[in-house]
Structures are given as structure tokens and as C-alpha cells.
């Protein structure tokens, strides 16, 4: 029998087969040094190659810059290089012997809230950059609010440019206190603070020699060691059926498998399950993979499940434990981040995607809009446009199998699609 680690292990170069994956997002404004920080992480972890280094060295020389501009590593599109800004979410990769990292590098300007939400949606951890000279500003609050709304499990506040504040503990403590004061209203479970200089490298990968008063870990130490094993929901078993596997070969003549990715909880062969929406019950006969039977399936594994009984199941159905079921609803509230150029239409109809289930819905009512700079609910202003966040009541054409977003990010999230343009116009978190 195979374990979730897969086939028998034959070779282990530097523990590579035992590494975890951490996805994190970085948020900061143009001048907070975000690109420099990412460049520093890549550079100090030796993830930058010679040809990349040569290319940015040449550009830095051409522009007459004093240091090699590490920020150039992350500016991908021509328009971005020309304007010196980041337009779109960019994904970066690096690894240390402990972990592989995926960075969703998101632009920080106000008009790009939709990109921050996009980057945050898959992150285990958010780095929020604060310029030590300016302290907690409106934008810091906006980033923290989005981290809270998207339920990123871990937040690291990096107080950057400490070199420009004489590496003063007082400057760091002020940011620490100000951030804690306003974030008390938010729902962030794990927040840490690190004083750094991305430009000079203090406390990024290597410990600073300029800040003896700081006894905590470096940023890299946190990234390598933060506990992410509990970031997924291992309690409430949810298996959205993605695709029905029917080989119709001699060997597997009557095989009927339900392929999907576990969205919550743990499944084992023999478990009693219900299938939604039909409500029929059965037992799991086997959990299959090409490498052999799977002993236990948990998020985010992709497996194929077979059942003891012949039940009509198709994509969009959900297999759950008999004694622990999601809510089945056609009307519910979501916090929505609007991403369309055309404003949200109250009474408008949109296509909706939730796990593997498609539906249509009508947006019945805007309850309030958030002022994400002040965290105030605006009950009088219900015009929801690009980059706005609002609480909305929706009604769907068919019952949806939902959990609150706080309980499960997989079964608590949905997207809205404009049926005229097919564009994704809304990101919804079920309240």
C-alpha cells in the first residue's frame, strides 16, 4: 500500500523529497521596498542565476544606479519596466533545504485591490511591508484587512528601511503598537513583527548586526519554520466531484470512479458517506491512484473514489460524511470583492462557480460596503464598483453545499462571472 508520500523512495538529495510547500503573498506600496525584499530573498537564498544577475546588472548600469537594482528581477512585463511599477500578480519561486516557496507578488497601489485579493486567496502567509519612516499608514490597514478577509493564516509585518531610522527600536515599537491597536478589530490569528532592511539584508536571511535589541527570528527563519500543518480543515469532510472516470475497458469494465480534490476532512475506505444533492448514502469502497490504493485522503490531495453502491453521481455533486454535512442553501450572504469594470448590478444575474459546481445567481441586496481604509461599514453607500468590498445577499438557481469561509476556504469561496463578457467579476467569501 502506498502512503501519501507516494512510491518507495530511492534517492534523497538534500532532503528534497521531504520538503514542504509554503505559499506567501507580499503586499506593500511602490516605495516600501517590496521588490527589493523579494530580490533579497532570492539573492541571499542563492536562487538568482548568473544570467539573470547579468541582465539586471546591465540595466542598472545603463540607468546609472549605484547598487544593482534587485527590484528589476521582479518586473516582468514591458509596460512595468517602462513605468517602474508592478501591474499584475507575478509568481516567484525559491527553495531552501527546508521548504519550497511560492511568492504571489502583488502590486500595492489602491487601484489594484483585485490583485491583492487574488494573491491572498491561495496564500498560507502574508508579508505586510511597512516603511519604518512612515509607520502604519492607510495602505497598511488595507493590506491587513485583506489578509484578514481572505483568512490568510499567518501574517508577518516587516518593518522595513530600519537603516534609514538609525536601526532604532523606538521606531519599530511604534509600528508594532500602532498595528496591534487597529488590527484588534480584525480576524488575524497569528501575527509577527520583524525589523528589517531589505536593501542591506538585515534580518531578512541573515541576522542583523545593527539591532541587538531584537531577539526574535529573521524573516527567513519564520518562513522556513511557521507551522502550516493546520492551515487546512481536517475535520469537516468534503469531496466535490470534479470528473467521473469511466474507463470502459475489458479490465475495468464496470469501473466508475469519482475524481476530485479533497476540500476538507479525511476520507478512508469504509467510511459512510452521503452524496449531495441526492442524499443517497453509501460506503467508500476504495480510494484509488495510479500508484496504488490510498490509505487516507485529505486536503489538498487529488484522488479517485469508488463507492459500494451504484448511485448516479456527476460533476458538481459533493461526497460528505453522513454525520457532518455542509449547509444546503439557495440564499446566503457573501463578502464580495468586486473585480469588474462595470459596477455590481443589484438584481443582476451572474454565473457562479463554487467548488466544482456551476450555478446562476441573482444579487438580491447590498447590505453594506466596506471602507477598507477605516474599516467602517457604509450602509448608505451601496454603489459597488471595481476594487470595492461589500456584503451582498445572493440567491442561486440550485442549492449550494456551503461552509462559512472562516471554517473552510475551499468550500466557503466562490466566484461570480459576467455572463455577457465571461469575465470573472467577483470573489466571494461566504459569511
Amino acid at each position: 500500500m502506498m502512503t501519501e508520500d507516494g512510491t518507495t523512495e530511492k534517492y534523497d538529495s538534500a532532503g528534497y523529497l521531504d520538503m514542504e510547500l509554503l505559499r506567501f503573498t507580499t503586499a506593500g506600496s511602490v516605495d516600501d521596498g517590496k521588490s527589493t525584499l523579494i530580490g533579497r530573498l532570492l539573492y541571499d537564498s542563492k536562487s538568482i542565476f548568473e544570467d539573470q544577475m547579468e541582465a539586471i546588472q546591465a540595466v542598472s548600469d545603463r540607468k546609472g544606479e549605484e547598487h544593482v537594482n534587485l527590484a528589476l528581477l521582479t518586473d516582468g512585463l514591458r509596460a512595468e519596466r517602462e513605468q517602474g511599477i508592478t501591474i499584475d500578480v507575478a509568481y516567484r519561486y525559491f527553495a531552501t533545504p527546508k521548504r519550497k516557496f511560492i511568492i504571489a507578488d502583488t502590486p500595492g497601489h489602491i487601484q489594484y485591490t483585485r490583485n491583492m485579493v487574488t494573491g491572498a486567496s491561495t496564500a498560507n502567509l502574508a508579508i505586510i511591508l511597512v516603511d519604518a519612516r512612515h509607520g502604519v499608514i492607510e495602505q497598511t490597514k488595507r493590506h491587513a484587512y485583506i489578509a484578514s478577509l481572505l483568512q490568510i493564516p499567518h501574517v508577518v509585518v516587516c518593518v522595513n528601511k530600519m537603516d534609514l531610522e538609525g536601526f532604532s527600536e523606538k521606531a519599530f515599537q511604534k509600528v508594532h503598537k500602532d498595528f496591534e491597536d487597529f488590527s484588534a478589530k480584525l480576524d488575524i490569528k497569528d501575527v509577527r513583527f520583524v525589523p528589517i532592511s531589505a536593501l542591506l539584508g538585515d534580518n531578512v536571511v541573515d541576522r542583523s548586526k545593527n539591532m541587538d535589541w531584537y531577539q526574535g527570528p529573521t524573516l527567513m527563519h519564520i518562513l522556513e519554520n511557521v507551522h502550516i500543518g493546520s492551515d487546512q480543515n481536517h475535520i469537516d469532510s468534503r469531496f466535490p466531484v470534479q470528473y467521473v472516470v469511466r474507463p470502459m475497458t475489458t479490465e475495468y469494465h464496470d469501473y466508475r470512479g469519482y475524481a476530485g480534490r479533497v476540500a476538507g476532512g479525511i476520507f478512508r475506505a469504509g467510511d459512510s458517506v452521503s452524496v449531495l444533492p441526492s442524499g443517497f448514502t453509501s460506503k467508500i469502497k476504495s480510494i484509488d491512484s495510479m500508484n496504488g490504493p490510498v490509505e487516507r485522503a485529505f486536503p489538498p490531495m487529488s484522488v479517485t473514489v469508488t463507492l459500494e453502491d451504484d448511485i448516479d453521481i456527476s460533476r458538481g455533486d459533493m461526497i460528505v460524511k453522513v454525520n457532518n454535512q455542509p449547509e444546503q442553501k439557495q440564499e446566503f450572504d457573501v463578502m464580495i470583492c468586486w473585480m469588474g469594470d462595470r459596477p455590481l448590478q443589484v438584481g443582476g444575474k451572474y454565473a457562479l462557480k463554487h467548488t466544482s459546481r456551476d450555478a446562476r445567481c441573482i444579487l438580491k441586496e447590498v447590505k453594506y460596503k466596506m471602507n477598507i481604509n477605516t474599516m467602517q461599514k457604509l450602509e448608505d453607500d451601496k454603489n459597488v464598483g471595481l476594487n470595492d468590498i461589500a456584503r451582498v445577499t445572493i440567491r442561486t438557481t440550485v442549492p449550494m453545499f456551503i461552509d462559512g469561509y472562516r471554517k473552510n476556504r475551499n468550500t466557503g469561496s466562490l466566484i461570480l462571472i459576467d455572463e455577457a463578457t465571461n469575465n470573472t467579476v467577483g470573489a466571494g467569501m461566504i459569511v
Binding site: 500578480v89 519550497k100 491561495t122 469501473y255 470512479g257 475524481a259 495510479m290 487529488s302 469561496s413
Partner: protein, 301 residues
């Protein structure tokens, strides 16, 4: 307490299988672009796993530049036979013969960019609504901004500044008539991940990736394999060398590296200690700082 965590390779594998199943579910007529390189071999392997014990429910398509390594074609045909997949070959030579594209001339002539026309022609001819490929975001900076599900207009073009946001793992494959999608199931893999996974899963790859003796010559600091259709400059000399390839593409623009790596373990050690990106060996990317972005906008992979 029992621990429920996956290694990073298994998490990447699960993500890619999920993407492949979404494609099979959301599109009517998808196709997997197969180049014979390690990345498309890994995607093919992941597709087998995603639909096992059924066969891969979509065809593989090879855009044949006519300047391929023989080994690639042989490997392709054996693999397709073994896994029982359906193969379609679209030919650059046919597009040249029919006058749809004009062959580049001169010593640096490459058919790499010419793949765009037969690719788009084949997509139209077979009415494919989704073409999957083995591109990875770590390969090149324009690719760092690519989505898993990348929407193309009815001219097959990519508009990098107006991409659909991609949230959680919910992919929006809705489109109008005539439009199609490019989907990249291994977007989040690095070169190292691909090699480690090939080792972990014991996946067969063409022997071009391992060390061998070959006639090569040096051009602009790169080693190119010699073939009789290649034009040499006067100063260039063909020599027998011990080399291997880090990427396998069109023969005219794929650089070889001097290497004695004869096993996957050797290759992994080499990748771990190397200081040049794998596309650093591709002359097609060296044409300008935005070379890849420009080709992608026109419909290149």
C-alpha cells in the same frame, strides 16, 4: 497526533492533476501540446494519473518544426504507443510549403517562431477549445504573470494587461465562439521540481538529456548541435563533444551543455549547482529583453 501533510512534490502533483481534470470537465475539445521535452512528458504523466484507470481523454499534438532531434521523434512514437494516447502532428514544413509562413534565412534562422502559425491553424482545423502545455512560470519573466487558465481572443492573442483574475482554485474557462484557452498545469513547478519528480515517479525521458558524444559548434557563447541543414559561419568549427541538453526544442536554437551526467541523480546534482537558467541556453529568448512577451502576445506558448 497524526500529521496530515504532503511533501511539496505531492502537493504540486495534486494541483496539476486538479487542473487537468478541470480542463477535461470544462472544455469540449481540449488538446495537450507535446514537444518531446521533459516538461510535456511530465504533464502527460500527470494526465495519465489524473484519469487512471481510464486513458487520457484528449489527444496529444506535436508541432513538428522539421528540425527536431531524431531521438525526440522516436521517443514520442514509443511513448504514445505505450500509453495508448492519440497523437496529432502539425507540421511547420507544411505551413512553409503552403506559403502560410516564410522561412527565416541567414545563419541564425530558426523555425521556433514559425510554430505559431501551424499551432493556430491546427487549433482552428481541429476546433480545439483548449490547448495545454508544459510551460512553467519560473522559466522566464513574462511567464511569471501567466495564469493557469489563460484566455486567448479569436486571433489566439494574449493580452497580459487584461487577464482574468484567478482566485483560490476556481478556474473560469467560459469563452465565446472562436476563442480558446491555453492551460498550464505545471505553472508552479520549477526545473528542480520537474527533475525530482521524474526521479520520484521513475518517468522515461529521451536520452538527449543524458551525456553523449555529439557534433557541436559554438555560436555566441552557446553550444549548438550540428545538423546538415544548419549554416555555419566561417569561424565556426564542428567538433565532437561530450554534452547533454537541459531543454529540448527546435534543433536550431537549443543549446547543449558540456556534461558527463549519465543518471537522473547526476542531472539533479548538476541542476542544483548550476548558475545559469535553463532558458539561458535558448537563443530565441536572447533576441531582446521582451522577446518572450512579444511571442506570447502573438500566440506562442
Amino acid at each position: 497526533m497524526e500529521s496530515y501533510k504532503l511533501t511539496h512534490l505531492r502537493e504540486l502533483e495534486a494541483e496539476s492533476m486538479y487542473v487537468l481534470r478541470e480542463v477535461a470537465a470544462q472544455f469540449e475539445n481540449p488538446v495537450l501540446l507535446f514537444s518531446g521535452g521533459k516538461d510535456s512528458i511530465v504533464v502527460t504523466h500527470l494526465a495519465r494519473k489524473a484519469f487512471w484507470p481510464a486513458k487520457i481523454p484528449f489527444p496529444l499534438m506535436h508541432i513538428d518544426t522539421g528540425h527536431n532531434f531524431e531521438e525526440t521523434i522516436q521517443f514520442r512514437d514509443e511513448m504514445v504507443e505505450k500509453i495508448g494516447a492519440r497523437l496529432i502532428v502539425a507540421s511547420v514544413q507544411e505551413s512553409i510549403d503552403s506559403g502560410r509562413v516564410v522561412e527565416e534565412t541567414g545563419v541564425n534562422a530558426s523555425r521556433n517562431a514559425l510554430q505559431i502559425t501551424p499551432l493556430l491553424d491546427a487549433i482552428e482545423k481541429h476546433k480545439f477549445d483548449c490547448a495545454m502545455g508544459g510551460a512553467r512560470r519560473d522559466e522566464e519573466k513574462a511567464r511569471a504573470k501567466e495564469r493557469f487558465f489563460s484566455h486567448r481572443d479569436d486571433f489566439g492573442q494574449w493580452d497580459p494587461k487584461n487577464q482574468r483574475p484567478e482566485l483560490w482554485n476556481i478556474f473560469n474557462g467560459k469563452k465565446n465562439m472562436g476563442e480558446h484557452f491555453r492551460v498550464f498545469p505545471i505553472s508552479n513547478w520549477t526545473e528542480m521540481d520537474v527533475w525530482q519528480y521524474i526521479l520520484l515517479e521513475d518517468i522515461a525521458i529521451p536520452n538527449l538529456y543524458f551525456t553523449h558524444m555529439r557534433k557541436c559548434f559554438e555560436r555566441d557563447g552557446m553550444l549548438l548541435a550540428y545538423a546538415d541543414f544548419m549554416q555555419l559561419k566561417e569561424s565556426e568549427q564542428v567538433k565532437e563533444m561530450q554534452v547533454r541538453f537541459r531543454t529540448i526544442g527546435d534543433l536550431t536554437c537549443t543549446g547543449a551543455t558540456l556534461s558527463s551526467a549519465s543518471t537522473l541523480e547526476d542531472i539533479i546534482d548538476e541542476v542544483a549547482s548550476t548558475r545559469v537558467t535553463e532558458r539561458g541556453g535558448r537563443s530565441d529568448d536572447k533576441r531582446s529583453e521582451a522577446a518572450m512577451e512579444d511571442r506570447k502576445k502573438q500566440g506562442y506558448f
